[in-house]
Subunit: 139 residues, 4 copies
């Protein structure tokens, strides 16, 4: 059981790339405002890295931009790789299964489904079946 739901705004425009096998992957950071204030009475935010695969990746890249109010439904993923300085780098990010565009009049959503092979299927998802090379991911 690993479930995450977030609503926040993109800190920058989304970043669409392709894996060596041509699978689209979009990354962006969501700023999610906290519901409480800190000692100084300020409302802070958490900055959460999001990864979206396949058709949803292309939709996110097309419809989202810096500042877009966005809902994300997905799961937390951890991975690690060797940094350029030789030390191990640990990454925690959210793999989106669904991205909802909340700024538009019709708040259109994109759903993906897990481990999909048949890609002419309308709701495509997750792409854990695809090799994720660390350097394909911009985070």
């Amino acid at each position: 059981m690993n479930r995450v739901v977030l609503v926040g705004r993109l800190t920058k425009d989304p970043d669409l790339r392709y894996t060596p096998n041509g699978v689209p992957v979009t990354t962006f950071t969501l700023a999610v405002n906290r519901t409480f204030t800190n000692q100084q009475g300020e409302r802070e935010a958490d900055f959460i890295n999001i990864v979206v695969w396949r058709k949803s990746a292309e939709n996110a890249a097309n419809y989202l931009k810096k500042g877009s109010l966005t809902g994300v439904d997905g799961r937390i993923q951890t991975r690690n790789y060797d940094g350029q300085d030789g030390k191990r780098v640990y990454v925690t990010e959210v793999v989106a299964e669904s991205v909802q565009f909340l700024d538009t009049k019709k708040e259109q959503g994109n759903y993906q489904t897990t481990n999909q092979t048949n890609s002419d299927y309308p709701f495509v998802n997750d792409a854990q079946s695809v090799d994720i090379k660390d350097d394909d991911l911009p985070f």
Copy 2:
């Protein structure tokens, strides 16, 4: 909106500490098994760092140990601090609002509530009202 629900097992015994003002804080890592297998047909896990505050921190330290099946309901928090090598360190972790012990017969739960001041309350929570010094946190 920032919501996380996890079920997994502790990778080690939990670690209970106290802030300078005496607030209990427990940390542990949850291994959450994935529902799908990788290229080699193996089932992998995500390793997610959890922070629990106040009464729930003490309960978690008392009732959980390495391997305990545990449910966590909380939110993702990001923070950063200057590492000993001078580079900025970015941390993503889950602040638990509720921890449920799933191994025991009665799967007893602990609920905390946010920004609580009155601590003789049975379900105490979150402690964002408390100064969190980075070096109080073991992650």
Copy 3:
């Protein structure tokens, strides 16, 4: 563990009432659009009844209206009572712990915390400590 997160639109203006002891309670129905289409290629919705207590109830009544895009974080509650025709009526609804207004520029949120006694506290919540008489609830 009982967690619900929804984003949808109010089907009507919210309904604010008070319990006999003067506790505010607001109810409304959220239309949550599905991510998939039915046999006829239409996109349907689920219509989910929401209950909000205390300070958040008053905020919801002030800031929300028919059509407002709204996020809800809460839990599923079931209860039953004897209907006027003598048969038992079973109700399933969502008790909101947090309501987020997604239409406004600052998408202001309201957080409540559970079983709160001290009510001059900024984030008040849930009111399970309060007697809920069935006929105080409009559903």
Copy 4:
């Protein structure tokens, strides 16, 4: 956005049926203990109806029984039909996308994915693509 996560115990053995087109569907009720107590100091539960489709339906029927500790990840669905007394009946239930068996040593999970047609796929899901006749559902 419509997400539900529950952990609870089956109130009875699960009920496996098949739609006219042969699609397996299992239903059961989860008793989810509340984290707080009522006026009398008792800990109550919510009783939530769950619907599981396809492969997960068969797995749930095989592995779960009355009392099984079970995690459910899914979405709230509302529907209505004409009751035998001529009045409209309104139903709120949770359609499970994933069911996790928490009693077993390996807490095996079952994942489904949405709107799947190709059923030799390992993680099959949701079956909203399938006609749901109201009288196929025991609730």
